[in-house]
């Protein structure tokens, strides 16, 4: 039997980190390419694509593409809109979906299995199939705003938020996580006289950090990348999100440098959000494989 010696242990570490480093580079390369290209004029950007120069800040480097991107489109407005829509949807979704999952897992009521099955069944329905009926409904719904009662939600923030607050995937994530929580905790609290609201708020949710992070990240990505729905319901520039804004840069003669600058700018909120939650997210992913 081979012995683990200091020598081959070191060799293994080198091999392991080399492989991991290469895999990491594969994932990082597109981001580096995007950032480096955003600093180059179009002609240089295109000529650099067939060499390693594409990943290096060499040649005629400047921030011109960023200034041009801001001139071409209201980039700040688009990012603001996406952050508002995504942020509010994520917060509401975590509240509503966790409460729904709590009711499915811990509260005994007739028909809950059937209702849960129906909700999970929505996971196999692509959004495109319900987009048009949803559009017809949204275009006629009443809304009580600062200007009083109005009809039709088109060209608003709420039309981009409310239809996505509750969804099958987020409820499913919470249900799976809640099922693994020790039932004795809930029973003990109930015996002590805690209400369902108190159990939800003081016992279950404080233990739900990892699943909250996972659900938040998945929801954030889904909402931040929204394209089809805002395209259908938002005709005014004032409410357009980043992905629709990306189309401003795809003209007949494409401004690749500006496209890369815009992509770099809109990637910042996503990276910041992920870095903020990554520890809990990884804990959640790791815990899904551990059954106790």
């Amino acid at each position: 039997m081979a012995q683990i010696t200091a020598d081959n242990h070191g060799l293994r570490l080198v091999v392991r980190y080399t492989v991991l480093g290469l895999i990491a580079l594969m994932f990082v390369f597109p981001l580096v390419f995007m950032l480096m290209s955003s600093l180059k004029p179009d002609a240089q950007l295109l000529s650099d694509t067939r060499s390693l120069r594409a990943f290096l800040p060499v040649g005629d480097i400047s921030l011109d593409n960023y200034f041009d991107a801001f001139r071409r489109a209201p980039v700040g407005l688009f990012i603001f809109n996406s952050v508002v829509v995504t942020g509010i949807t994520v917060v509401l979704s975590l509240m509503v979906c966790s409460a729904a999952a709590f009711a499915f897992v811990f509260v005994d009521w007739r028909g809950r299995e059937l209702v849960l099955t129906l909700i999970l069944a929505t996971l196999i329905v692509p959004f495109e199939t319900i987009a048009i009926p949803l559009l017809l409904i949204a275009s006629k719904l009443p809304w009580l705003g600062l200007d009083g009662l109005s009809y039709g939600w088109l060209n608003s923030y709420q039309v981009q938020i409310i239809p996505f607050v509750a969804d099958g995937l987020t409820i499913f994530l919470f249900v799976q996580y809640f099922k693994d929580l020790p039932g004795e905790l809930i029973e003990a609290a109930r015996v002590e006289g805690a209400s369902w609201w108190q159990v939800y708020r003081r016992i279950v949710m404080p233990l739900a950090g990892p699943v909250l992070a996972t659900a938040a990240i998945l929801k954030f990505l889904a909402m931040y990348n929204q394209y089809l729905w805002p395209l259908m319901v938002v005709q005014e520039e004032t409410y357009r999100p980043v992905m629709v804004g990306l189309q401003y840069f795809f003209q007949l003669n494409r401004a690749w440098g500006e496209i890369m600058a815009y992509l770099s700018l809109i990637t910042v909120p996503v990276l910041a959000f992920y870095l903020f939650l990554q520890r809990a997210f990884i804990a959640s992913i790791a815990s899904t494989g551990v059954k106790g």
């Binding site: 179009d42 002609a43 295109l46 000529s47 694509t49 001139r71 071409r72 489109a73 048009i132 559009l135 017809l136 949204a138 275009s139 039709g152 088109l154 089809l228 395209l231 259908m232 319901v233 005709q235 005014e236 520039e237 629709v244 804004g245 189309q247 401003y248 840069f249 795809f250 003209q251 007949l252 003669n253 494409r254 690749w256």
Partner: protein, 418 residues
Amino acid sequence: MKSLSLLAASLAFASAMSSAAFAQTTLTMWYHGAGNEVESNIINQIISDFNASQSDWVVEIESFPQAAYNDSVVAGALAGNLPDILDVDGPVMPNWAWSGYMQPLQIDEAKIANYLPGTKGVWNGELYSIGLWDAAISLVTRQSYLDELGLRVPTLEQPWTGEEFMDALAKAKASGKFDHALDLGTAWTGEWYPYAFSPFLQSFGGDIIDRSTYTTAEGVLNGEAAVEFGTWWQGLFTEGYAQATQDPADRDNGFNSGKYAFSWNGNWAALGTLDAYEDVLFLPAPDFGNGPKIGAASWQFGVAATSEHPDGASAFIEFALQDKYLADFSNGIGLIPATASAAALTENYEEGGPLAVFFGLSEAQALVRPVTPGYVVAAKVFEKALADIANGADVQDTLDSAVDEIDADISKNDNYGF
């Protein structure tokens, strides 16, 4: 008493003035040019001039990015939320008119009598849309390449025959000087395929849809001429003259950096090429037996069917049909002005101008894509068929399948009213 009368008169005057101001009716307009600063400036200038020119109407614009525009209009139509004025891509217009999104224009047609044919959106015998410009395609090359390869310069009167064109490609390939002889722009997907490549099919004698009935593609898209076209098309790739799959960077910059001997490209890219070389030639399409053809019809203005003020909307469109605006658009975004008189006002299309050849191409070779609501589906089927053939699919089988798909769509939609 006198002061009271003066006060009453003042109030009456103020009231009359304010009601005159309120009498202005707002017309909403959707436009596809968001993200194009030059285009936006020109359209905003036209709107500003129109609003200042009269006191009945005020036009307010909402711009959309072009890639998202058609879907936004369809969604707006479904939600009952269309504007008064919209712009529409020429080949899509019949579909929108048939779908009930648009109504006929109420403009003096004498004003557009001398417009290029591709700028007039006529459906069912009525004018639904009118364009301030057209676009055209040419075979781009350099005089020095033709000299080196020993090729004559084709003209509008005497374009290359199919044999001459293939001979040119063969010589370019044999020279070993280029990565590929021909840049077809296969990196561009979508409408580019039917716009750029269906004229080849038409020059062979086929078509996407049978224009005599508009109820079938049988015989025109899979008949003898179409199969001959398909075999020729496939040969471009199997012989290595062109790439079935192309890097978008090569499409944007390949010809200008010497990778191709010829480029099949639109007038919108011409200024960049003129910057790259001093001896650029914009050649007419080759003639494969039924005359040289290029596509026609670009973006045009129309009135939404739901508009309660079609008179005002048409008044705005008629206002925009001034040579100075046609020239502004042409100077700004490089497109072909709709009239010869406007062309004379432009930097590029005036007689002897660097792009004047495109005006001649539009006049002499342009053929609008099939004027039918079914075009939007047929165009996608045609694109897929061409991509499949380019990648080695059997020509006859692929064209037969395309015909079946197009005919099934026409049948499903009750022949689109034909």
